[in-house]
Amino acid sequence: MKTKLTLSKEYIKGLWENNPVFKQVLGMCPALAVTVSALNGIAMALATTFVLVFSSLIISTFRKLIPSQVRIAAYILIIATFVTLVDLIMKAQFPSLSKELGPYIPLIVVNCLILGRQEAFSSKNTVFRSVVDALGMGTGFLIALFVLGGIREILGSRTILGLQVLPDFYEPWLIMILPAGAFLTLGFLMGFLNTYTERKKRLEREAILKKHIKPISDTPINTVEA
């Protein structure tokens, strides 16, 4: 098993290093479906975080009582309970938002991100750690959805969070708010993020190599390639 991380690291790893959408490719359905605008993305991410945190809390509390054969069913039931709660609250408090997100709120039940965290983390760690981890993952999800929704909203309808940011002569790209735009935006975003991280990794590797390996001689080491 890995060495234990400090609590703050446990939180931060969800933001970038293990970002649920960009790095783990989990929770794609809501990430693609509701990010027509930044606001929808935020609402979705907050609802997901709520469910994630509370189900982590409950599951890590009862982790020693749940028999491992029926754990998946138990997890899903707990998650579904909280999703019902969120759905009812949203319907009562934010009816318009709830209507816009439509069936994607109940679909939080089957968000792989939530079940994945329970299986990989909450079932093995203490209550406090699990909640911190859930908060981190939720924030990472929020960042991803906000970025995705922001880009699509700016390019697709000239606005962000309802405020116009691009001038009127800019013709909105209708494609961005259509399903195809979601796939293309996320695909390019992930590709560029990979480019960035790989470049960073390569530079780091080269820096380490330079520090430790002195150029010995001009003769190449691998001359055995007959």
Partner: protein, 192 residues
């Protein structure tokens, strides 16, 4: 006639994967080879059809008469989880190679949003029993179609020179975007 419309609407115009973003996980995960993608599609279709039957019955015969509609998510997901378990046992018994090829993604049908999404859409659109079944078949056919096309493209893509950072999920998403664009061409065909 109306049933035919529902079928094509679910399968092509409002394709579950490319228009509603349901079932993205297996769409990206299992679309490496045509054969396994096709069997994944068939397994999903099978679960979808049974789900549409069972959840319709549960919703209209048990939940609505007792005023328990708020229990729909919990009961739907339970039904789906046990159905998937059943299909898994069945495939394991019938075809070992297929069972191994589908691997982890078989139990993941449970958390395939397409299945629960189907059950929710049937409730939302207030379909009758028969309409619900047809919708389920259509959605399954659409899923199979999308994932098989995707697998076909990805088999060719293996030979292409994709930039390294774009390998895997990113290029799959881009291809899916282009596929979604193509499917948009059907948009005016049927309006249901």
């Amino acid at each position: 006639m109306e049933l035919i419309l529902i079928f094509f609407s679910a399968a092509i115009v409002n394709n579950f994967v490319l228009a509603y973003f349901l079932g993205i996980c297996p769409f990206i995960g299992v679309s490496g080879k045509i054969s396994s993608a096709f069997s994944m599609g068939l397994a999903t279709t099978f679960v979808m059809v049974i789900t549409s039957i069972v959840t319709w019955l549960i919703y209209h015969l048990i939940l609505v008469p007792n005023g328990l509609e708020f229990l729909q998510y919990v009961s739907f997901i339970l039904v789906i989880a046990s159905l998937v378990q059943f299909v898994e046992m069945f495939i394991k018994k019938v075809s070992q190679p297929l069972y191994r090829a589908l691997g982890i993604f078989l139990p993941l049908i449970t958390t395939n949003c397409a299945i629960l999404g189907l059950a929710l859409f049937i409730v939302l659109k207030e379909y009758t029993f028969i309409q619900g079944i047809v919708y389920g078949v259509g959605a399954g056919a659409g899923f199979t179609l999308a994932i098989t096309i995707m697998a076909g493209i990805r088999e060719e893509l293996d030979l292409a020179d994709v930039p390294k950072p774009f390998k895997g999920a990113p290029i799959t998403l881009l291809v899916a975007g282009i596929l979604a664009l193509a499917f948009m061409g059907f948009a005016g065909l049927i309006s249901v």
